[in-house]
Amino acid sequence: MTSVAEQRQDHTAQQRLLEGWLPLAQEANLRYGWGLDAAGLEALILGAAPALQRVRSTFEAYAILWSSYSHAQRTRTSP
């Protein structure tokens, strides 16, 4: 069970993560024509966060986002 303070800390960390990565995710969204809205972009970033933190280049970050997006699409369409 997490305390209120811990939950707030998690929320702040999440907000900061989104703040940093949203411009790049939005760029990928436009580049690949995914048509994701703000909530979709946030979900994409949060899903890919562990891998994104290890990337060394923008190209690598795009590849991670693309893979994460494809995985989410497959999961959604599978019965």
Binding site: A13, R16, L17, E19, G20, W21, P23, Q53
Partner: protein, 344 residues
């Protein structure tokens, strides 16, 4: 093979190699006897020192001192061996132009000043000097270089822990938070959260953290996502915190401004105006003046650069920079106008 006296027989080549390794290890840094034995054994494996190595180590030190004139001393405080002089093992020599370059660096980055210490330039120069034969070392001491780089030495010292954490945050690409006392804060520092990108030392001797502002508490008009140069000596020691958030590889794009300024004929008539900013384009006019356009992201820094022209420069855009100049002009007027009137 076992020697009749009970010790392990090593060829003279192996002995020589071991002693060179000792010197090499000590050149890297002062070391304890355990460190030295470990370094030698890591390189030579079972041909290194035996289990009880102190006698063999002492024998090697004596040989290095006696045969090659090396000066190795034991520092009781740190319990480390220190190499003070290589003696005959000072094998590096340099052509005269390189000696001149060494003297240039020596004069340009004197001991005790900020930048040379922080960038470890003094440590490098001392190591290179140590590798030179005595005659060349003496030549270096005598040399009075005609050229030197004008790096300011009067800057306030930077807290080593501040510099260490800033460098670490840049390397790990992580957000950084700290208390900062800017020129506009009277006596209470404000908390800044930034995306750090690197450290720059400017000719006047100050070190700056190049960062993108993410949050400042309380706010005082700084635009969020602006590129800001934070003076490292104004970051409050002990207040730095490397945050867990990892930043994207590419910098968060700062607001970009189209810069346009006009330079008066007394500055531009020789048609050799410097390009200080990215995407600079210069148009020279028939009356000797010039109009310069460029793209900038740091208005504060832009103002500092353009102030060197004094009243020979008129900023035309962006409006934010014009406002900054108006503020500066107002301040300067408040300082000097009364004196002028008084002198009449």
């Amino acid at each position: 093979m076992t020697h009749p006296t009970g010790g392990t027989k090593r060829s003279s080549w192996l002995t020589f190699r071991r002693r060179l390794l000792l010197v090499r290890t000590l050149l890297r840094s002062a070391a304890t006897s355990a460190d030295l034995v470990a370094a030698i054994n890591a390189e030579l494996g079972d041909q290194g020192y035996p289990a009880a190595a102190s006698a063999a180590l002492k024998h090697d030190f004596d040989a290095l001192k006696g045969e090659y004139g090396c000066l190795i001393r034991y520092d009781r405080r740190t319990r480390c061996y220190v190499l003070d002089d290589l003696g005959e093992l000072a094998l590096l020599d340099l052509p005269d132009p390189c000696m001149e370059a060494l003297a240039f660096l020596d004069a340009s980055f004197p001991a005790g000043s900020g930048l040379p210490e922080h960038a470890h330039i003094r440590a490098l120069l001392e190591r290179v000097r140590l590798l030179l034969p005595p005659a060349r070392q003496a030549q270096l001491r005598r040399q009075r270089p005609a050229m030197r780089l004008g790096v300011g030495a009067g800057a306030r010292p930077i807290d080593p822990q501040v510099l260490d954490l800033v460098k670490r945050a840049c390397e790990q690409r992580r957000e950084l938070a700290f208390d900062y006392l800017s020129s506009f804060d009277l006596d209470t520092p404000r908390r800044h959260r930034v995306a750090p990108y690197g450290v720059t030392f400017r000719p006047e001797g100050h070190g700056y953290l190049d960062a993108t502002l993410l949050e400042v508490t309380p706010r005082a008009g700084e635009p969020i996502h602006a590129a800001i140069d934070y003076r490292l000596d104004r970051i409050v020691p002990g207040s730095l915190e490397i945050l867990p958030t990892v930043l994207p590889p590419e910098r968060i794009p700062p607001p970009r401004y189209t810069l346009r300024y006009r330079l008066a004929p007394q500055v531009a008539r020789r048609r050799d105006v410097a390009s200080y900013f990215p995407e600079t384009q210069i148009t020279y006019h028939a009356d000797g003046s010039a109009t310069v356009t460029a793209t900038v992201s740091n208005l504060w820094q832009t103002r500092q650069v353009l102030l060197r022209y004094g009243d020979g420069c008129t900023v035309l855009e962006p409006a934010e920079l014009v406002a900054l100049f108006a503020q500066t002009a107002h301040g300067l007027s408040a300082i000097y106008a009364p004196q002028r009137e008084h002198g009449r």
